[in-house]
């Protein structure tokens, strides 16, 4: 029997992506906390598992995989009873892949990390206005993607929904999602909140993240 271990911090959005995927697949695993805020990811033991020292990192029977997107794709391919969460059909998969990379670059790196890295590392609590604009642009694009469909990559739930909701629920700590302006995004968030595992896999950790952010008393420059 394979033993799965997920290393990470619940507050971390990509860790929550992995948690959502594991929960959706109903696959048992052990969660081992690695507190990146306390630099536990820089220990020699962790560097042996993942030289890039990021979370989430997955251990599957002695093999180490990291990057939440690679982890989610791998988990569905290996443990999924079917391919619904990461379709094998080339056209459908291509759209999921595009959404996953959109999340990596536009949502996570440019939307969130560009704020949190200086905020946590150097205590920069006055955030440049362009970071606010970048988040609004993300909300705009998501609203566009959801036109005519219930999920971010099409008519069914996929790992792209997990990848984006985890970060979106953390971007909200900085910029509210106006329900009047973003009717489709708001409906999509509510749809995902109904998933039976959503509270444990994402909502709880997102609240922790938001508390951390609110404590910094950040403000956007005008």
């Amino acid at each position: 029997m394979t033993k799965l271990i997920l290393y990470g911090l619940e507050a971390s959005p990509p860790v929550r992506t992995a948690k959502l995927t594991l929960a959706a697949l109903g696959v048992p695993y052990e969660f081992v906390e690695v507190n990146t805020l306390a630099k536990e990811n820089l220990s020699e033991a962790f560097l042996k598992k993942n030289p890039q020292h990021t979370v989430p990192t997955l251990e599957d029977d002695g093999h180490f995989i990291w990057d939440s997107h690679a982890i989610s794709a791998y988990l569905v391919s290996k443990y999924g009873k079917n391919d619904n969460l990461y379709p094998k059909d080339l056209l459908q998969r291509a759209v999921v892949d595009q959404r996953l990379h959109f999340e990596s670059g536009v949502v996570f790196a440019n939307g969130l990390r560009s704020i949190t890295k200086p905020l946590f590392a150097s205590g920069l609590t006055t955030i440049p206005r362009e970071r606010y604009d970048a988040i609004i642009e993300i909300y705009d694009f998501l609203e566009t993607f959801l036109k005519g469909q219930d999920y971010i990559a099409g008519s069914q739930l996929t790992i792209a929904d997990f990848s984006i909701i985890s970060t979106l629920s953390s971007l909200e700590a900085f910029v509210d999602i106006d329900p009047a302006k973003y009717t489709r995004v708001t409906a999509w968030v509510k749809r995902l909140e109904q998933l039976p595992y959503y509270e444990e896999a994402n909502a709880k950790g997102a609240r922790t993240f938001t508390e951390i952010i609110k404590k910094t008393n950040f403000k956007f420059a005008s």
Partner: protein, 220 residues
């Protein structure tokens, strides 16, 4: 079945990663230039194909796809004679996927932090911290290459194409110190030896390299 059409411009590293993949696959394609400074990507016909209005964008006989990583994975899966450029083996694929997402998030954002003010804000002073971040990327790439001659292991994959295209511009800002990053330096050379390298990346990148140099940037 008609040819695929690639929309893009030579200067763009993600576009060149697709040119590398198309050439590696030996696939015939049409290449249509999209003039980004003239905002051709914001025209309604382009927005219909890609609401994110980015390049590269692919038209495969009416199926539109964007994001270079999704495009390259799709092209190999659909047109590859074998899966070597994007292995089906789950563990090998997981490593390629991780490298691809490292490119999407870290490589791209590190590069954009340097080029965006230079290209679009007429600011030719580059803070040292951004060059240090680029060196951090070189360090990680060198680490990845501990496991094999190519970024994701012993064989060439699309991960090599993405990073090569980005590195082509990066080295103008920060040459690869072979004494510090020997594996990275060796890999850069190895990729240059691919028979289609010059056509797909070498010569299309000339103009952007000249453009960067013409900015007379300084690191402050």
């Amino acid at each position: 079945m008609g040819k695929v059409t690639l929309y893009g411009i030579d200067g763009s590293p993600p576009v060149r990663s697709v040119l590398l993949t198309l050439n590696a696959l030996g696939l015939d394609f049409d290449y249509k230039i999209v003039n980004l400074p003239a905002k051709e990507q914001l025209k309604p016909e382009f927005l219909k194909m890609n609401p994110l209005h980015t390049v590269p964008t692919l038209d495969d006989n009416g199926f539109y796809l964007y994001d270079s990583h999704a495009i390259n994975s799709y092209l190999v899966s659909k047109y590859g004679k074998d899966d070597s450029l994007y292995p089906k083996d789950l563990q090998k694929r997981a490593i390629v996927d991780q490298r691809l997402h490292y490119d999407s998030s870290v490589v791209t954002s590190t590069g954009t932090a340097i080029t965006h003010p230079l290209f679009w804000e007429n600011n030719s002073e580059i803070p040292q911290a951004r060059i240090d971040a680029l060196e951090g990327v070189y360090k990680n790439l060198n680490l990845f290459l501990e496991s094999g001659d190519y970024l994701a292991g012993d064989s060439l994959t699309i991960a090599d194409f993405h990073v090569t295209a980005a590195m082509t511009g990066f080295v103008v800002f920060l040459p690869v110190d072979a004494s510090k990053y020997p594996k990275l330096a060796a890999w850069v050379q190895r990729i240059k030896e691919l028979p289609y390298y010059e056509k797909a990346n070498g010569s299309p990148s000339q103009q952007i390299i000249e453009f960067i140099k013409s900015k007379n940037f300084t690191i402050v």
